[in-house]
């Protein structure tokens, strides 16, 4: 079984990839995807830690998994809402490219 740190490194890598995606892509949809990658990195980290650590106090050692469930939930909601807004944007402005969305600046 791989030690915790390996999973952590995978998670860090995935997180960094997600960050890159957010920073570098133009399409809002792709940015949302990249954020999903970041959230998955979070989950890998949580689940791995949950499997490797002892719990403490009233809380269980597998709290990490529960947190991950919540993260997945929130992520799903986030995607839904974000896409709804992107759709609205597309309807209003016929674009979903973030570098064209700069009506407000400075």
């Amino acid at each position: 079984m791989a030690p915790l740190v390996y999973f952590q490194l995978v998670s860090a890598g995935l997180f960094a990839i997600g960050v890159y995606g957010v920073l570098a892509r133009r399409s809002a949809v792709l940015i949302v995807m990249s954020i999903e990658l970041m959230l998955n990195a979070v989950n890998i980290n949580l689940v791995a830690a949950a499997s490797h650590l002892d719990g403490s106090g009233a809380f269980q050692r597998f709290d990490g998994q529960i947190i991950a469930i919540f993260v997945i939930t929130i992520a799903a909601a986030e995607v839904g809402l974000a896409l709804a807004i992107i759709l609205r944007m597309y309807r209003n402005r016929a674009t979903a490219n973030v570098d064209e969305i700069d009506l407000m600046k400075w």
Partner: protein
Amino acid sequence: MTGLTENIYLLAPEFALAGLALVVLAIDLVLPAGRKAITPWFTAAGLLGIIALAIAMLWDRQELLYGGLLGVDAFSLFFKVFFLGLGVFIVLISWEYVDRYLDNPGEYYGLLALSILGMNLMVQARELLTAYIALELLSFVLYVLTSHARRDPRSNEAGLKYILIGAFSSAVLLYGLSMVYSTIGVTQYPEIALALSAPGQLPPALWVGIALLVVGLGFKISAVPFHMWAPDVYEGAPLPVTAYLAIGSKAAAFALILRLVAEGFLPADDRWSQWQIVLAVIAALTMLVGNLVALAQRDIKRLMAYSSIGHAGFILAGIAALAPGSDLATNGVILYLVGYSATNLVVFAGIIAFFNRTGRQQITDLAGLADEQPLVAAAIAAGLFSLGGLPIFAGFAIKFYLFVAVAQGGLLWLAGLAIFSSLISLYYYLQVIRQMYIEPALPQPGIPESNDSPSPGGADTPGAVGELNDPAGAALLSAPAIRTSPSLVGVLAVGLLVVVFVGVYPRPLLNLIAAASRAILPGV
């Protein structure tokens, strides 16, 4: 697990609030189009009822729920009442605006109630995930409300930017959470404190994790360099939502931070003292950037956004000055939040009253307001003076108190910088006041600018307002000034009263605040 839920009745206000939200959403569905005007009043009344309920039930309680996941104490009660009260005011200032410019009022008020629930839970949470989810509840509502003006491309853009950056920052925050969890295995504040004060080396991933947490929270309070979303979102969002963003969401985030720091970091005194300076630097950057950039603004909402960034810097300075064994800084921060919120409320109420009449929001549009709407102008002016930190308004007293706390926390330089930034801020506040009081009224152009153009009220607009709204454009604007709505006048009057009262005699309030801060501070 009976022990977990035996005092679950303490959550009655929260349940009531959730219930209220659902009822509001429901009645909006069933009410006929012509009678939807009661939704805001219903919401406001419900919120008031919940305030009463909360005070009656929770006064002097200090208990933990769910094994310490939530804390019901003076601190949370204070903020609960505060947020609920803010909610009432937000409803009141929204009413006319929503009526005129927004669709779906039922959802608006229902979501508003839900966001207040989120804020209430944020202050009660004593665990990172709970806090995070409560925060998300608030954020989601804000995302929706920000893009609530559906046909307004600015509102749309603001919503998109807000949710993208918000999701990004919450991913960062969660990653921080996961790093904290993966190093010390806990997420409850007291346990974090325990782990932090444990002897011996701690893995560096913990520090990075905490830093990422700070980033996520810093985003919420729009601390530099995580602030850039704020101006766009403030500018694009419908005005009452902007007010809500500036007042509610910020205060809730700070309340969360307060509890996190007080319960999670402060007991580990040595660690905290290492971090204070970092926060202080962020605070310094925030106040400087916010106030400097505000100098160059022309849009009143955008101006208020930068102003709120600047104020976030001040409050963050108070956070950085938190010290174990003294409730000075906590008091200072809470007092500042209250005073700042009240002041901002007054300013935004005034701006909304102005906007409702003219549909304009450039600073230069305010010219001549003092002659046309003296009360509104006076309220805005008083609010801006207060924001600038001048007596007899709240701004002076709260700044003084906060800066005393900052100085007392060993950050005299930061206090000095904060005072200096208030000086800068006065410049742009005065520019607004100048427009209102000194400049003569501009000749009204025939058609309001397209980007601000109000969406017509729609079928559910009540007759009276609909008449005014109907011939949108020249006829509306050349018509004699619309009377400021009574709810706005009421908010202005009450708000001003609070602003002056806090500025002149904050003692009763401070007593409450001191009780609140003692509830979260160890050993005070």
